[in-house]
């Protein structure tokens, strides 16, 4: 089947749209589909992914109101617009400054995960280590509940509450 737009290449993307009870079908080649904004390139660089994801979110005004669009990181001077153009963040503080805008992207890039539960620098204060350890245990707890392994879940729950008590003291 040939692409309906260029009539040259083979259609590899088939789109069925049902709107108001009417069904329309489109058959496009990858190139035309990308051009039409229907398909994403099969091989995208990480930076393209970032700019793409940021750009595919609702407009900045819709999300954060005009004040957030104007928001500038006090540390590196980056704005959301910079991040979108450059595809990378300007400084570590951007994670807090643009947290709302970044959160959907982080979730999407990390399969829904939003909390670190890996290695912690040894120079970090004890309470920070406890926080990361609790995230790790919570994740194991969710996995145990999913597997209906309630014995393990109960043990993990106790471990977490003990750590939190100890960590808070």
């Amino acid at each position: 089947m040939q692409c309906q737009i260029c009539n040259k290449k083979t259609a590899t993307i088939h789109l069925t749209e049902i709107a108001d009870g009417a069904r329309t079908e489109m058959h496009l080649c990858e190139e035309c589909a990308i051009h039409q904004g229907i398909a994403a390139k099969s091989q995208v660089s990480v930076n393209e992914l970032l700019s793409g994801l940021l750009a595919s979110q609702p407009s900045d005004e819709e999300l954060f109101g005009p004040s957030d669009v104007q928001k500038t990181c006090p540390h590196c001077g980056a704005t959301l617009n910079h991040l979108r153009k450059e595809g990378v963040l300007g400084c570590p503080r951007d994670y807090e400054v643009f947290e709302e805008a970044l959160m959907p992207l982080i979730e999407r890039a990390h399969n829904g995960m939003t909390r670190h539960c890996g290695k912690v620098p040894s120079r970090l204060a004890q309470h920070s280590k406890v926080a990361v350890e609790c995230s790790r245990l919570r994740q194991q707890l969710h996995a145990a509940i999913r597997k209906e392994d309630y014995e393990v879940a109960a043990r993990l729950r106790d471990q977490i509450s003990q750590l939190e008590k100890g960590g808070g003291s």
Partner: protein, 373 residues
């Protein structure tokens, strides 16, 4: 330390040692780190970049690694040097092409590289031949601990190690395993394999060439998720599940080729042998394509313990003991690396035109396949 000390031979990470080395060429673990109190590289001034570069360079050269190290200023290096380092996987293409003060600290035996001012201030990697991810993880973790004693990393309890791109945030770990998957391609199962990896949140790309058309049937499989999963779990998952499954899949495809299409297999191996033995001009792409068929034949013999007339002829060329077959795989790995453009030029001592390179490459391959070695 001169680069020609390295360029004459293959890197240790391609030596054919380590588990599952017929299919798994190498294992790599990379960590992305940034120095606290500084902008990320993209928003750093040249002065700030130089400051970070000097600090990290000094740290990486001084930590106890058990191997001699050398530093290369990538911003001052020639194109040939940069390409050579990319071909040996010691720096990324991004690092080679970036701008501004940047460098790399490389261990003499190439198992470790620290790239400074790549996308992040520090990208450290450990590379080993075959499937040796636990060993890589152990080493990189120890090196990371040593660096961390001297440098404060940008870290948050919520997001972990803070990286310039949020796709690396968390552990900042990227596991990459280099695989040779010719039989999956020949039996038409590659597409299925690629779809399965997508479902597992893995990224697959060709090692050379663009897109899914991987030259030499060499692929790199890596994790995409770096947040919300511990380094240990990720490494365990790769080593105990992901990689053995892919290897099994490739070996099943090799079995299938042998049982269903032995004449197709032998035809490919024989044609590849004949072309490589007789060609006087050979491009890098063609060499990779043909060497891949020879590598497949030797792999079948080594792993599955089966041979065919074409495979016998290939092994005999390398004077291999048919019951071990190690020399053959090393020779092929060696040719895969030494016939790459920058390697050819560095070993020849001058920059060469494409045709000159093609002639030199063909000569090198003919000599290796002359049967007198």
């Amino acid at each position: 330390m001169k680069l020609t000390d390295l360029s004459g031979d293959i890197s240790e990470w391609l030596s054919g040692a380590g588990p599952m080395s017929d299919v798994v060429l190498s294992s790599r673990i990379r960590l992305a780190r940034n120095v606290a109190g500084h902008n990320f590289v993209s928003r750093s001034s040249s002065t700030e970049k130089t400051q970070v570069l000097e600090t990290l360079k000094e740290v990486l050269l001084s930590i106890e690694l058990g191997d001699e190290r050398f530093y290369i200023g990538i911003d001052q290096a020639s194109d040939l040097t940069r390409n050579f380092l990319v071909e040996r996987h010691l720096i990324s293409r991004h690092h080679a092409l970036a701008k501004g003060p940047r460098g790399a600290v490389i261990a003499r035996h190439e198992f470790f590289t620290g790239m400074i001012n790549e996308e992040d201030h520090l990208r450290m990697q450990v590379l080993k031949s075959g499937c040796q991810l636990s060993r890589c993880a152990e080493l990189i973790n120890r090196i990371d601990d040593l660096v961390e004693q001297k440098v404060e990393y940008a870290f948050s309890c919520r997001y972990g190690y803070l990286t310039a791109c949020p796709t690396n945030v968390g552990s900042g770990i990227r596991i990459s395993v280099m695989l040779h998957l010719p039989a999956l391609k020949m039996t038409g199962h590659l597409e299925k394999f690629l779809n399965a990896t997508k479902d597992m949140n893995l990224a697959v790309r060709g090692l050379f060439g663009e897109g899914t058309e991987a030259a030499g049937d060499l692929y790199q499989v890596s994790n995409q998720v770096t947040l919300g999963i511990s380094e240990e779990n990720l490494v365990r998952d790769f080593e105990a599940k992901v990689i053995p499954e892919i290897v099994e899949y490739e070996n099943a495809a090799r079995q299938k080729l042998l049982s269903d299409q032995p004449e197709v297999l032998d035809d490919k191996i024989s044609r590849a042998t004949a072309l490589l033995q007789n060609a006087h001009l050979i491009s890098s792409q063609e060499a990779l394509f043909l060497l891949s068929h020879l590598r497949l034949g030797i792999g079948i013999h080594r792993t599955l313990g089966v041979t065919t007339p074409a495979i016998d002829r290939v092994c005999a060329l390398f004077g291999d003991d048919l019951h071990r077959g190690n020399a053959s795989i090393v020779t092929i790995n060696r040719l895969l690396m030494l016939t790459l453009p920058a390697h050819l030029q560095l070993n020849h001592g001058q920059v060469l035109e494409t045709t000159q390179r093609d002639a030199l490459r063909a000569k090198l391959i003919r000599a290796a396949l002359s049967g007198s070695s």
